[in-house]
Symmetry: C2
DNA sequence: CTAATTTATTGATTTTTATCAATAGCTATT
DNA sequence: AATAGCTATTGATAAAAATCAATAAATTAG
């Protein structure tokens, strides 16, 4: 079993046969900057694991583009709401740069669950991670000023600041572009 | 198999043996108003299913009591962050009134996963539900004024307004008590 | 390489909601 | 029923950040 991927690092309980099964069902995909992995209005089909590059998830509301998350290499991403509910997604996912990823379709994943029950645990753990990130983001924002939120992002995910535009970061941190611009000017 | 519970309604795929196993591991618990089900600083031990009554989950920050969710009858609740990570919870859960619930400990749940792999799917679905609620709450708040948030709560979960105090509702809707009071005065 | 377009900065003003403060209304307990 | 202790309302003011507006800088395309 190759170890170059890192994709199984968090799932040591998977049997070799499950890993092999998984690998044979993964599809390697490459993207150019700005490619759309998932589109609003469509049911999210894939769960992605980023090998290289980065992406952002966003949605539109009142003609605004709101970034809800950033994905860096070594991380999983999908339009989770749609992936879970099998209803059309309100989310888009686009790459911020040339990227490489593995992906697995929802259907294939369900087959994996039937054939290798342990894989359901791996998925559960991805889901748990998703949940934790969302909850922590919510609580972290609650008592912080715009500037504190920006400083925390700088501290904990500096890569995001390098890769995303002011507009993306501002909406992600729930502030206007102007406010973020002023914060950057004074720190 | 009795059907009075409703607890299995969402998990039709569970085998009878899994259901029986589950039931024998469920503990029935009763609470008075204000009882603490889960305490901050301690690792969350139980997943609860409310048969009757209601509860709220809250945490303290800067000497403020912030309500993060309400649980009504027929719903599951735990301090999910701690339940997942097995780290001390920052969350408390208290009943808003006399209540009855079933609960299952984390350890027992893990045993269930080993003995009846299908139960892992049921837990996954609870987790998915938790995720969806959190995500929807986040997005719903984003573009709404204080008044709109209150009106939506009235529309979708009117029971909460009957059972919780202004202070609980205000922090849940992310506004001050005074703001909520003014909203109630003018609608 | 230059024009066009998008993205970012800076300033002035407004808006929403928080905070501070005082009072009023409930609830519970003796 | 009276008192104490919360809980809720209402008013005045302040603060944080949004919005509107005008440039400036940086990217992209021709």
């Amino acid at each position: 079993m190759e170890k170059i991927l890192g994709i199984f690092d968090k799932f040591p309980f998977l049997s070799d046969s499950a890993k092999t099964g998984f690998l044979s069902n993964l599809e390697k995909v490459e993207f150019n900057k700005g490619d759309l992995l998932e589109k609003e209005g469509e049911v999210s089909q894939y769960l992605y694991y980023f090998l290289e590059g980065s992406a952002r998830s966003f949605y539109n509301r009142n003609n605004r583009d709101i970034t809800v998350s950033f994905t860096l290499d070594g991380e999983f991403v999908t339009a989770m709401h749609s992936f879970i509910t099998r209803k059309p997604s309100y989310e888009n996912i686009e790459t911020l740069e040339k990227s490489k990823a593995y992906r697995i379709s929802h259907d294939t994943l369900e087959n994996m669950f039937e054939n290798f029950p342990e894989t359901e645990r791996a998925y559960r753990m991805i889901l748990e991670e998703y949940y934790i990130v969302l909850e922590e983001k919510q609580i972290f924002s609650k008592f912080k000023t715009a500037q504190e939120r920006y400083l925390e992002l700088m501290e904990y995910r500096p890569k995001v600041i390098q890769k995303a535009s002011v507009g993306h970061i501002a909406s992600y941190l729930d502030m206007s572009i102007e406010t973020l611009s002023r914060i950057r000017a004074r720190i």
